[in-house]
C-alpha cells in the first residue's frame, strides 16, 4: 500500500506542477516552459501506469482476504490517478493552444486566474482529505466543478459576443478552446472529489445525493457529521432512483437504520405523499418517514429500514408451516385494508392503456414479440396490435364496481414481513391510489409467475401459492358481488404478462409470458357480444 501511496503522491505533485507551469506559460510565455510542459507528459503517463499496476496487483493479492476498506481506498486512488493524468493532459492541450494565438496579451484579457486558483485549491486538498478522511474537504473539491462551470460560462458568453463582431476570430476560437480545457479540468476534479467520498463513506454516492442526504438527515434531526453514517448501497432500482441503506457507524447513539431514496422529484414526492396517506388509512402498514427534501428536479426521502423478509423470500425459503402463517397474516391485513377502503361506484380501469404505454420498453428488449395479422387459409389470426385495440374497446364496457386503496405495484417483493412483530409492511408506494383491486391482484399473481425459479419443487410451491391467492381474490369478488372480476382479471393479467417481459432477458421465459398475454386478449376479445359476467378465466395461464 505504501508503494501505491508514494507514487500517488508523486502524481499529485506532478499534476500540481503541470498546472502551475501552464498558468505561468499563459501569464508569461516562454518557449522553455512550453517545452517543459510537453516533456513531462510521458513521465506523468508512466507514473499513472505505475499507480494503476500497483492498484490492480494489490487488489489481486487481497483477493480472498476481503478488507473492504482497503479495496475501497485502492479503487479511489486509482480513479483519482486516472483523473490527475487527465488534468495533466489538459495542461498539455492548453500549452499547445498557445501556438495558435497571435498574441498572448489577447488571451490575458480574460479571467483565467480564477479558474487556475480553483484548480490549485482542489489539487492541494487531495492528499490532506485522503489522509484525514474529512468529508467536508471532499465535498469542497466536488463543488469546485460548479464554480468552474460558472467561470467558463462568463468567459464563453463574452467570447460569443465578441465573435459576432467578426474580428480576431482565430484568437477568439483558440481562447474558447483553452477555457474549455480548463472547464474539463473541473469535471476531473469532481471525479476526484467523488472518489474521495467513496473512500470515506464506502459508497459510490454522488455529490448531488450527498447534498440531498445531508438536508434530509438534518430534517430528521440528525446533527452530526455525515462521515459518521454507515452507507450500504443495497440495490439499484430499475426506475432510476438511488436507494441506499443508511445507519450510524456507532450504534450507541442512533440505532435506527434508514433507507435513503433519491430520484426524480415527481416519483419521490408521490411516494412521500402516499406513505402519509397509508399512515392515515392503515397506520403501521408503511415505513416511517424520517426526512424528505425537494430540490429543483429531484427529491430525496429517508424512510425507516424495515428488518424482515420480503414475501417472495419467505415463500421460497421457509417451511410450509411458516409460509402458511405468513400468508394468513398477509391475507388478513389485505382483506382488512380492502374492506376498510372499499368505496362503491363504477371505476374505469386502464389496463390496456398501461400495456400500450409500456410497449416501447417491451420492444426495446424483445423486438420479435409482436404478432402481425395472419391468415391460415380462411382462418383469420388477429395481430397483437389489433388485439390490444379490441380489448381497449371492451375494457370500457367493464368498469370495476368499486374501488379500494391499492398498493399500485403489488409485487411479492414489495411486501415485507417482520417475523418478530408478526406484521406485514408495504414498501415502494409511489403508485398507490384509489383503484380497482384487480390491478393489485394481477400484479401480485404475475410477480409470482415471473420469478426465475425453474426448480420443479420450488415451482410447485409457487404454483400452490398462486392458486391459493387466485381463489382468495375470486372469493373476495364473490363476496362483494363483483360479477366481471374474471373478465377484468384476464385483461389485467394480459397487461402484466406483456409488460413484465421488458425485465426478462431469458427469451424462452419471456416468450411464455408474451404468448399468455396474447392468449388472454384473444379469449377476452372473442367474448365480445356476450355478457361479460359469463367470462371464465382460463386459470391454467397462471401456472408455469
Amino acid at each position: 500500500m505504501e508503494y501505491i501511496i508514494e507514487n500517488f503522491r508523486f502524481l499529485v505533485i506532478e499534476a500540481e506542477t503541470q498546472v502551475k507551469l501552464t498558468y505561468g506559460l499563459l501569464s508569461d510565455f516562454r518557449i522553455s516552459v512550453l517545452e517543459k510542459i510537453l516533456s513531462k507528459d510521458d513521465y506523468i503517463d508512466n507514473l499513472k501506469a505505475t499507480v494503476e499496476n500497483a492498484c490492480f496487483s494489490k487488489i489481486h493479492i487481497l483477493k480472498g482476504h476481503v478488507d473492504q476498506k482497503k479495496i475501497n481506498d485502492i479503487r479511489a486512488l486509482h480513479i483519482i490517478s486516472v483523473n490527475l493524468e487527465r488534468i495533466a493532459d489538459y495542461c498539455v492541450n492548453i500549452a499547445r493552444q498557445t501556438e495558435y494565438l497571435s498574441d498572448l496579451a489577447f488571451f490575458r484579457r480574460y479571467d483565467y486566474h480564477s479558474m487556475f486558483t480553483e484548480i490549485q485549491k482542489g489539487l492541494s486538498r487531495i492528499i490532506p482529505v485522503f489522509n484525514g478522511r474529512g468529508l467536508s474537504g471532499a465535498l469542497e473539491i466536488c463543488r469546485i466543478e460548479s464554480r468552474m462551470d460558472q467561470l467558463y460560462k462568463e468567459s464563453f458568453d463574452r467570447i460569443m459576443v465578441e465573435l459576432k463582431e467578426g474580428r480576431q476570430v482565430g484568437n477568439l476560437i483558440t481562447t474558447i478552446f483553452i477555457f474549455r480545457y480548463l472547464e474539463r479540468i473541473g469535471d476531473a476534479l469532481l471525479n476526484i472529489g467523488e472518489a474521495l467520498i467513496f473512500a470515506i463513506l464506502g459508497d459510490r454516492i454522488k455529490i448531488r445525493q450527498i447534498d440531498a442526504l445531508q438536508k434530509t438527515l438534518s430534517e430528521a434531526g440528525f446533527k452530526e457529521d455525515l462521515s459518521d453514517i454507515d452507507f450500504s448501497s443495497f440495490w439499484g432500482s430499475r426506475s432510476g432512483c438511488r436507494i441506499s441503506k443508511v445507519g450510524q457507524k456507532n450504534p450507541a447513539s442512533f440505532t435506527t437504520q434508514g433507507v435513503f431514496k433519491e430520484g426524480v422529484l415527481k416519483k419521490i414526492k408521490r411516494e412521500q405523499e402516499n406513505i402519509r396517506r397509508w399512515e392515515e388509512i392503515y397506520p403501521g402498514i408503511v415505513p416511517k418517514i424520517f426526512g424528505y427534501h425537494e430540490n429543483q428536479d429531484t427529491a430525496s426521502l429517508l424512510v425507516e429500514f424495515l428488518p424482515g423478509c420480503t414475501l417472495d423470500q419467505i415463500i421460497l425459503t421457509e417451511n410450509a408451516d411458516s409460509v402458511r402463517d405468513v400468508i394468513f397474516i398477509f391475507e388478513e391485513t389485505l382483506s382488512d385494508i380492502w374492506q376498510k377502503t372499499l368505496t362503491p361506484g363504477p371505476f374505469d380501469t386502464d389496463y390496456m392503456a398501461q400495456l400500450k404505454s409500456r410497449l416501447e420498453g417491451v420492444y426495446r428488449v424483445h423486438p420479435q414479440f409482436y404478432r402481425p395479422a395472419q391468415h391460415l387459409g380462411a382462418l383469420r389470426i388477429r395481430s397483437s396490435e389489433d388485439l390490444i385495440h379490441a380489448c381497449t374497446d371492451l375494457e370500457k364496457s367493464a368498469p370495476a364496481p368499486f374501488t379500494v386503496f391499492i398498493h399500485g405495484d403489488f409485487n411479492v417483493n414489495n411486501i415485507v414481513f417482520n417475523q418478530g412483530e408478526e406484521k406485514v409492511y408495504f414498501i415502494d408506494l409511489h403508485r398507490s391510489r384509489k383503484a380497482d383491486y384487480v390491478q393489485d391482484a394481477s400484479v401480485f399473481l404475475v410477480s409470482i409467475f415471473r420469478m426465475p425459479v425453474f426448480d420443479l419443487e420450488l415451482r410447485e410451491r409457487l404454483n400452490t401459492v398462486t392458486l391459493y391467492f387466485y381463489e382468495w381474490f375470486a372469493d373476495f369478488a364473490l363476496k362483494n358481488a363483483d360479477s366481471t372480476f374474471q373478465f377484468r382479471l384476464a385483461l389485467a393479467l394480459a397487461r402484466s404478462f406483456y409488460t413484465s417481459i421488458r425485465f426478462e432477458l431469458n427469451r424462452d421465459f419471456a416468450r411464455e409470458m408474451y404468448l399468455r398475454s396474447l392468449f388472454l386478449m384473444e379469449q377476452t376479445s372473442a367474448h365480445q357480444g356476450r355478457p361479460l359476467s359469463d367470462f371464465i378465466l382460463p386459470e391454467s395461464v397462471l401456472f408455469y
Binding site: R371, A373, G377, L379, R516
Partner: protein, 87 residues
C-alpha cells in the same frame, strides 16, 4: 438461389382453437391450395399428390408434444402427367 419464403405463427391456444387451426389446414389440403398470409407476405402451397408425412409424439413427465410434418417437392410444370416411355 431460390427465394426462401417463410411463415411462422406461435401461440398458446385452448383445445377448441387448436382444432380450428388444424381444420383450416385440412380444408386447404382437401382443396389443393393452402394460402398463408403474414402482414403483406403471402405463401401459396399446392400440396402434392405424394407427400412425406411424419408424426412424432413425446411424453416425458408432465411434458407432452405431438408434432406433424408434411413435406413435398413441387413437380416441374405443375400437375401434368409424367412422360411415359413406350416401346
Amino acid at each position: 438461389m431460390a427465394k426462401k419464403e417463410e411463415f411462422q405463427h406461435e401461440s398458446i391456444q385452448d383445445n377448441h382453437t387448436v382444432s380450428q387451426y388444424l381444420q383450416a389446414l385440412i380444408d386447404g389440403l382437401e382443396s389443393g391450395t393452402i394460402v398463408l398470409n403474414s402482414e403483406d407476405k403471402q405463401i401459396i402451397f399446392h400440396p402434392g399428390d405424394l407427400m412425406e408425412m411424419v408424426i412424432k409424439a413425446k411424453k416425458k413427465g408432465d411434458k407432452n408434444k405431438i408434432s406433424l410434418k408434411f413435406s413435398w417437392k413441387d413437380t416441374p410444370g405443375g400437375r401434368t402427367e409424367p412422360v411415359r416411355i413406350t416401346t
